[in-house]
């Protein structure tokens, strides 16, 4: 319902997907998990996913935010963020995530029985396959995790060295002064209305 001060509202699909990303049902206290994740996961190593799972997750995140002349999900270490998340603050989603990934892998094998693991396919084949599963809950979950891993604080293991923030033009700074953007540079000041104007 509410989106503003009242934070959320409407746009059920969006909000549900967004909120679903925040599921944390298994934990009584985010603070312990948060502290653990934040202090230990600035390096690139994985703890939850198998090597093959990790490779496929990596391949999917690269398709979501590709690397071109600027960094994408891989350079932001999004796959490591996801691995960390599934082992800590999003552990409640780990079972669902792995089941979804297994289903994804099975479908991929059906689609291309001879090409081996999804991560090893040529990218054009990966893209065409992803289009066939882009409405699945698993893909939406990976997409949400990718966005979070790209843009949330680097302390959680993604957004490595702030590359996600640089990509979108966000400046991680706590003090700003006007003018804030192009359009408020030459603002002439608020002009009051004549009483008769309404």
């Amino acid at each position: 319902m509410q989106y503003d001060d009242s934070l959320w509202r409407s746009r059920r699909a969006l909000i549900q997907s967004l909120l679903a990303t925040g599921a944390l049902a298994a934990f009584g206290s985010w603070s312990e998990i948060y502290a653990a994740a934040k202090t230990t996961r600035t390096d690139a190593r994985k703890t939850v996913l198998t090597t093959e799972e990790f490779a496929d997750v990596d391949a999917i995140t690269v398709l979501i935010v590709p690397t071109d002349d600027e960094p994408g999900a891989r350079e932001a270490r999004v796959p490591y963020f996801i691995d960390t998340a599934l082992g800590s603050f999003f552990a409640a989603r780990a079972k669902e995530f792995r089941a979804g990934l297994a289903d994804f892998q099975a479908r991929a094998k059906d689609a291309q029985p001879t090409l081996g693991a999804f991560s090893a396919w040529p990218s054009d084949k990966q893209i065409s396959f992803l289009k066939t599963v882009e409405k699945t809950d698993f893909f939406l979950l990976v997409r949400d995790f990718t966005v979070i891993g790209l843009l949330t604080m680097p302390e959680y293991g993604g957004n490595h060295q702030g590359v996600g923030w640089k990509l979108i033009g966000f400046v991680d700074q706590h003090v700003f002064a006007p003018p804030f953007g192009y359009y408020d540079r030459d603002y002439a000041g608020f002009k009051p209305y004549e009483p008769k104007s309404i």
Partner: protein, 550 residues
């Protein structure tokens, strides 16, 4: 024992349940008036050193908000359905800490208009709803709106909006500097003949009452202010209450039952401390300000043989008429950078569509404002739901972040009795108490109004010269932070829970004052009005106490 610290066995004058927008004011006003006050707050006491620009923590991990892992909720859209446990996040969300939702709000602080208080008389009934006049009028509340502006601290420009109701004093601080979104919004709206005005904001534009001016860090919406520039009760009312030596704020104290004596009067509040030990704090009177979700829940949890339907509930209306102002949104991308991630969320507002107009074919009105809403991660989540959600085109859109803004359209919610909170018959919280059950479906007028306001937002964005405009889909509400109407005020005990002074119609020493008191929904942005009600209620409650009438 230091001054102002009380034992449970001491009968204090007042227990105030909740330390948020209303509770903070009630605690301060009653303790300044010389009464002994204990405030019970279920959340922790945090301070600026705890506050970070951490989207994951604040938006995805219930960092300072109620957490369904320990405080689960169920939801259904009509009374004939079985409510299901919510997943992902609460249906009714609030900040759970000392200062309550005044800590994480955006601070958009317009006053309700005169029409909000007697719209039923002006427009007539709405069939099948509890649409009603308030027992007070704008003129009754005006002095207390002024108190909010001066005691809490609001920046703004008096007289800037031709639609503003009468006021007796200017704002204590000038408006905050306009942002590019405000300039564009103003440009578009003026081209359409509308009357945009500088947003009144509960954020310091200059140092005020011991707190610094805003540093424009941009993390207001959903965050706690690390500079104390946001006018949260955590930074003003609560410390001022404590400074009297008469008020003790007990954090991590979860009120679970209001006790009553055989004479029908309340005697104190039963609560869990941080170690989950039970206590009973005795009091001469109890003031419940736990928000529009938890206040009715506490009254229902306080059922007894004398009050089998729940305390103060002979009308059967405790928990009914939940109103969640509908907010529709319009996204817009411009040629040059706006950098909406900087500074406060809102700098310009339009009230031209505030009043309902029967010619539109539905009841409803609203205010529109310009903002980005949340910061990068949440913004990108919204973006992914709106257009291409992966691949090079998605990446291209991510990079539009500095050039994007959002027009937010704050609408009405018709009071409908079936829209309600009560106790779930099965699900329990981590303390073994019945979980909050939410039943909610937007009234058709609320959705029609949302579409109408969104159309106006699109027109403003286009008139401002947006390169691309996108409408956020309008669907039925399933969650909100607008927690209004669930213990409505009124003169008639059969159709309201509290009287015009916020006193329970049936329990003379029980008062309720928070978002639950509202009779109609305004046009969103209710905190300003909740706080004006709290100042007014505190004045009357103190008078009753002095006269021995509690």
């Amino acid at each position: 024992m230091s001054a102002g610290r009380y034992h449970d066995r001491d009968q204090v004058d007042f227990v105030v349940v909740g330390s948020g927008a209303a509770g903070g004011i009630l605690a301060r006003e009653l303790s300044v008036a010389g009464f002994s006050v204990v405030v019970l707050e279920q959340g922790p006491r945090l301070d600026t050193a705890d506050f970070e620009h951490d989207e994951l923590k604040y938006w995805f991990l219930a960092g300072i908000t109620n957490d369904i892992a320990t405080s689960p909720q169920t939801f259904r859209s009509s009374l004939d359905q079985e409510a299901k446990p919510v997943v992902g996040g609460p249906a009714l969300k609030y900040a759970r800490m000392v200062g309550g939702s005044s800590v994480h709000f955006t601070g958009n602080y317009w006053r309700f208009h005169e029409v909000d208080f007697d719209e039923r008389t002006r427009l007539g009934p709405i069939a099948g709803t509890g649409f009603a006049d308030w027992p007070i009028r704008y003129s009754d509340l005006e002095p207390y709106y002024t108190r909010v502006e001066w005691d809490i601290g609001v920046s703004g420009l008096a007289g800037a909006s031709p639609f503003d109701p009468p006021r007796t004093k200017p704002y204590p601080m000038p408006p905050l500097p306009v942002k590019s979104s405000g300039v564009l919004f103003e440009r578009g709206a003026r081209r359409l003949g509308l009357h945009p005005f500088p947003a009144p904001m509960a954020i310091n534009s200059e140092p005020y009452r011991g707190r610094p001016a805003c540093m424009h860090c941009g993390f207001c919406h959903g965050y706690a202010c690390e500079f104390r520039a946001k006018s949260s009760t955590l930074f003003n009312m609560i410390p001022e209450a404590e400074a009297t030596g008469k008020c003790e704020v007990r954090a991590q104290s979860y009120a679970v039952r209001i006790e009553t004596a055989s004479n029908g009067r309340v005697t104190g509040v039963d609560y869990f401390d941080a170690q989950r030990r039970r206590h009973l704090q005795k009091a001469r009177a109890v003031v419940v300000a736990a928000n529009g979700a938890e206040t009715p829940r506490l009254l229902l949890l306080s059922a007894s043989s004398r009050f089998p339907q729940g305390l103060a509930n002979s009308s059967g209306l405790v928990g009914k008429y939940l109103m969640c102002n509908y907010v529709s949104r319009v996204g817009a991308v411009f040629e040059h950078e706006l950098n909406e991630f900087k500074s406060v969320q809102v700098t310009r507002v339009v009230h031209d569509f505030y009043d309902a107009d029967p010619r539109r074919g539905f009841y409803g009105g609203g205010g529109l404002d310009a903002r980005i809403g949340p910061q990068p991660t949440v913004w990108a989540q919204h973006l992914a739901a709106e257009g291409p959600s992966w691949g090079p085109e998605f990446k291209k859109r991510l990079r539009e972040f500095p050039r994007a803004m959002v027009i937010t359209c704050h609408g009405t919610a018709v009071p409908v009795a079936s829209n309600s909170v009560d106790l779930d018959p099965k699900l329990k919280d981590a303390w073994g108490l019945p979980a909050l059950r939410v039943t909610y479906r937007d009234h058709p007028n609320d959705l029609a109004n949302a579409r109408f306001l969104q159309d106006r937002g699109v027109e403003i964005a286009e008139a401002a010269g947006a390169l691309r405009v996108a409408r956020a889909e309008i669907t039925e509400s399933t969650s909100t932070t607008s927690l209004l109407g669930t213990c409505r005020m009124g003169n008639d005990p059969s159709s309201s829970v509290v009287d015009r002074y916020h006193r329970s119609h049936e329990v003379p020493n029980l008062f309720v004052c928070d978002g639950s008191s509202l009779v109609t929904s305004g046009r969103g942005q209710p905190t300003m009005t909740i706080q004006a009600l709290a100042f007014r209620a505190a004045e009357h409650i103190a008078q009753f106490a002095r006269r021995g009438e509690i």
